[in-house]
Amino acid sequence: MNHSRSWRARGLAAVGVSAALLLAACGGGGGASSQQGSGSQGAQAAFNAASTSVVNPSDKKGGTLKFANPGDWDTLDPGETYYAWSWNFARNYGRSLMMFKAAPGKEGNQLVPDLAEGPGQASDGAKTWTYKLRQGVKFEDGTEVTSADVKYAVLRSTDKQTFPNGPAYWEAILDLPDGYKGPYKSPNANTDSAIETPDKYTIVFHSKQPFAAFDYLAQQPDTMPVPKDKDTGAKYRNSVVSSGPYKFADVQPGKSFNLIRNDQWDPATDPNRKALPDRMEVALNVNPDDVDNRILSGDLDVDVSAVGVQPAAQSRVLQDPNLKANADNPLGTRLNYTSIIPTVPPLDKIDCRKAIMYAMDQTGYQAAYGGPFAGGDLATTILPPNIPGYQAFDLFPNGQDHKGDLDAAKKSLEACGQPNGFETNIGYRAERPKEKATAEAFQQAVGRVGIKLTLKPYPQGDYFAQYCGLPPYVVKNKLGLCLNSWGADWPDGFGFLSQIVDSRVIRETGGSSNMSVRIPEVDQMLDKALTELNTDKRNQMWGEIDKRVMEEAVIYPGVYSKTLLLRSKNATNIMVTDAFGEYDYLGMGAQK
C-alpha cells in the first residue's frame, strides 16, 4: 500500500517537472520578441550580419549600455590586464599610442593612431621608434597628457611583482638597464636607454632587436598614460584615471562599475571615437545562463567576456529563426590544435606524422568542440582566416567529407616503416571536456589505420609547466600527441606565431606553449619578418612561415574557434571587429 503511494507521488512529481520544462522551453521565444520596443528599423538583420557589416547603424548620442560579465576582469588597470575583451573595452577609458579601428570585419584589424598623431617612425634598422603625441589630450582631472605619462605607464607595467598578470613584451623587447625593477623599486634608475622623452609630445623607444611590427606593441593598453601622482600601484585597478571619453564611477570591486562621460575628453583630439552612449553599466560575476536570458529579454545588452551563448540557450537560439537572425557567429582569433611531437618515436619520422594528419577525422574534432557554430570552422592552416597574412592552403587533404583519407594514411605508414600502425599517448587537460572529447575522437579516427592512442589527462594548472609542456616528461612518457590551443594577443603574424612556432621559446624546464615546432629555418624566417617594414610584404612572410611549419606535420590544426553571440535589442552599431573576434565595444551606441 505504502509503496504504491510513493510511486504515484513520484510519478506526479515527474509529470510536474516535465510540464515545467516544456513551459519554460516554449517560453523564451515568444516572450522575448514580444518585448521588443521601438528597436529595429524595418528589416531585421540576418544571422551573422555583424561579422561583415554594421547592424543598426546610428549616430544618435545618449542612452545606457548594459554589460554583464559571467566572471570578473583580471584587472581594470590598463597596465596589467591581459584578456582580449578587456583590451577591447579599455579603449573606452584610455587612449593608447596606437589603436585598432572601430570598424567591422577586416577593417577592424587596421591600426590607427590614437594618442599618437601618426604611426611610429622607424629608424636604426627598426630598432628605434618615435611617436608624436597629439596635443590637448586631457586626463579626467583636467591635466594634460604628456609623453612622460606614457613612459611612466610603460615602465610601471614592467614591475612584475606588483603586476604579475600582464603581458611581458616590453621587458623582453626594450633595452632596459640591468636589474631594473620598475619605478617603485628602482625609482632613480636611468631608463633612457629604453624610452626617451625629448619633449612633452615626443616619445622614443629603443628595442634590443629589430621589431618591424612595433605599432602592434604600441596599441597595448599598457601604453595608456598613467599620472604618476595618482598611481596607487596594485590598487590603481580600483581608481583608474581616464584619458578616454568615459571615466569610472561607482566602482564596487567584484560586483559592478559604471562608466560615465569624461567631460575633459575633447572630441577634436579624437577622430577615432564617436562616444555615443551617455553611460555604461557593467555587472560582474553574473550567472552565465541568466546572462543569455537577460540579453534575449532585453534586460542586458552585451556579455562583455564574449564567452558565447551557453549550451542551455544555444539550441534554442539556433532552432528559432527569429532568435537566430539576431545572433552572430564570429571567428575568434584562436586556433584549437594538436601538437604532434617529433621527439617521441616513431613520430620522429615525418611520414608517421603525416599518417596522423591524413587519418584524423576532422569533423570529429569539430563536433568535440561544439559543432560548426559554437566550436569552429575546419582548419587547414595555423593562422585563422581573419589574421593578416593568412593564406589559404591545404597540405593534407582529408577527403570530401573531411573524415580522413585512409589510403594516404596507410601509404604514409608504410613509408615510415610502420605498416600496421604504432602506439603512443595523447595528452589533454582533464578539466576541459572538449579536449577530452577531441582526444577520444583522435583515438577512434587514427585507430582505423592501426595507430593505438592511450588517453592521458593532466591537470590544467600545470599542463604546460609539468606535463605536455615539459620536454623531458614528454619523451619519458611517450606523449606523441598533446592537445593545444592558442589565441593571439593581437591579430598579426608575430602575435599569433611567435609563441607557438619559434623553437627558441621552448624551455627544457617547461612552460612553453610550443611543444613540437623545432625548425631552424622557421626561426630565421621569423627574425627576418621582424625586419620587414612594409606591412604587406611582412604579412606575406607570415603566410610563408605558416606553410613551412605545416609542411613538417608537427601541428594538426583542428578548428578555427568561433563563438555564438547574441545581439542586443537596445544597442546600435553592432559589429564584429576582427581585431578581437568579438563585438566592438568602442563603437556601440544605445537607443535608450
Binding site: G27, Q35, D72, Y82, A234, G254, N287, N293
Partner: protein, 337 residues
C-alpha cells in the same frame, strides 16, 4: 545558565581558530603531498606571460616563502592588531580586524565580507520565514487529511522540491516568471534594504520563493510526520476529553509537540545557509557570502576562502548554541536546572 553560555562562547572561539588552521593547512600543506613548492603555488596568481622570475617575485609578495606556521601567525596577528600591505606604489595599513588582502583583487577581505553579508542575510531570513510558514502549514494539513488527494499531491510536489537542484528550479523560475511573464525581477538586480526597501523585496522575491520551495518540502514532510505522531499521543485524547475545539487541539496541543524537532532543524538550517547559500546566489547573481566563497575557491584566493569559512563557521556555531538554548525553552523537560 550564564556560565554555560560563557563556556560555549569560549569553546566557539577555540573552534574557529581550529577551523582557520585546518583551512590554512589544506591550502598550503596538501599540495605539498603532490610535490608542490611555494613557487608552483604562486603560478596560479600570475598571467600567462609570466617568467620564472615573476613567479618567484609573486611567491615572495604573497608570503609563500615563509614557513607555513609563520604565515599563519602573521594572518592571525592581523585579525587582532591589523597588518600592513605593500601595494607597490606605497604601503597601506589595514586596521583590525584584518583578514588579509585578496590574492587576486588586492582588496581587504573584511570590508568585503561586511558588504556581502547583508545580501546573504536578507536572502536567508526572507526565505526561511516563507519556508517555515508554508512548510508547517502544508505539513499540518497533509497530516490531518492523510491519504487524500491534497496529501498525496502535496507530498509529491515536496518530493520534487527536495530532489530538484536549485540551479535548475531557479533558472526555470527566472525564465518563466521574470522573462516570460515579467512579473519578477531578473537576476542580478539586488538593491540594499537601506536604499529602497520596496525594490529590495522585489529583487529578492523570486530567490526567496525558489529557495523556500526547496526547503519547505523538507519541513512539510517533517511537520506531517511530527503531527501524525503527536496526534496519537495520549494528551491529545485528554485535550479532546476536556471539550476543546478540534482546532484548538490541533494548533495548541498537537502542533506544539510536532514543532519541537522542526524548530531545532530550522535553527541549524538557517545557520548553515547564513554561511552562504552558494547555489542560490550563483543562480540569481546575488553578491552574497556564498558567491564570494565560490569566487574565492575558483580562483584559489585563500584570504577570501578563510574569511568566508570563518564567517560561516561562526554562524553555524552560533546557530548550534542558539538551538541548544532554544531547546530548553521549548521543551520544558530538557531545561537546565
Amino acid at each position: 545558565m550564564f556560565a554555560y553560555i560563557v563556556r560555549r562562547l569560549l569553546w566557539a572561539v577555540v573552534l574557529l581558530i581550529v577551523l582557520s588552521m585546518v583551512t590554512f593547512g589544506i591550502f598550503y600543506l596538501i599540495p605539498r603531498l603532490g610535490g608542490a613548492t611555494p613557487e608552483t603555488l604562486a603560478t596560479r596568481y600570475v598571467g600567462r606571460a609570466a617568467t620564472a622570475e615573476t613567479v618567484h617575485l609573486t611567491a615572495e609578495r604573497l608570503g609563500f616563502l615563509d614557513p607555513v606556521p609563520v604565515q599563519y601567525w602573521n594572518w592571525l596577528k592581523g585579525i587582532f592588531v591589523g597588518a600592513d600591505y605593500d601595494f607597490g606604489a606605497g604601503v597601506e595599513h589595514c586596521p583590525a580586524p584584518c583578514f588579509g588582502y585578496s590574492f587576486i583583487t588586492h582588496q581587504p577581505v573584511w570590508p568585503e565580507l561586511l558588504d556581502r553579508a547583508p545580501v546573504t542575510i536578507s536572502l536567508v531570513i526572507g526565505a526561511s520565514i516563507i519556508w517555515l510558514v508554508a512548510g508547517v502549514t502544508i505539513g499540518v494539513i497533509s497530516a490531518l487529511r492523510r491519504g487524500t488527494l491534497f496529501d498525496r499531491s502535496a507530498m509529491g510536489i515536496a518530493l520534487a522540491g527536495v530532489s530538484l537542484p536549485i540551479f535548475f528550479t531557479g533558472l526555470i523560475a527566472l525564465a518563466f516568471f521574470s522573462y516570460r511573464l515579467g512579473i519578477t525581477s531578473p537576476g542580478g538586480h539586488y538593491v540594499p534594504f537601506s536604499e529602497n526597501p520596496a525594490q529590495w523585496a522585489y529583487s529578492l522575491l523570486l530567490p526567496w520563493i525558489t529557495l523556500a520551495f526547496l526547503f519547505s518540502a523538507q519541513y512539510a514532510r517533517l511537520t506531517r510526520a511530527g503531527m501524525l505522531e503527536t496526534m496519537t499521543e495520549d494528551y491529545i485524547r485528554t485535550a479532546r476529553a476536556k471539550g476543546l475545539s478540534e482546532r484548538r487541539v490541533i494548533v495548541k496541543h498537537a502542533l506544539r509537540g510536532a514543532l519541537t524537532p522542526v524548530l531545532t532543524i530550522f535553527g541549524l538550517d538557517v545557520g548553515l545557509l547564513l554561511g552562504g547559500a552558494v547555489l542560490t546566489e550563483k543562480t540569481f547573481s546575488l553578491n552574497g557570502l556564498g558567491k564570494y566563497a565560490l569566487d574565492g575557491i575558483l580562483n584559489n584566493d585563500l584570504p577570501k576562502i578563510l574569511g568566508v569559512t570563518l564567517v560561516a563557521g561562526f554562524f553555524v556555531i552560533m546557530a548550534n548554541l542558539f538551538v541548544d538554548l532554544l531547546y530548553g525553552v521549548i521543551d520544558p523537560r530538557v531545561r537546565l536546572a
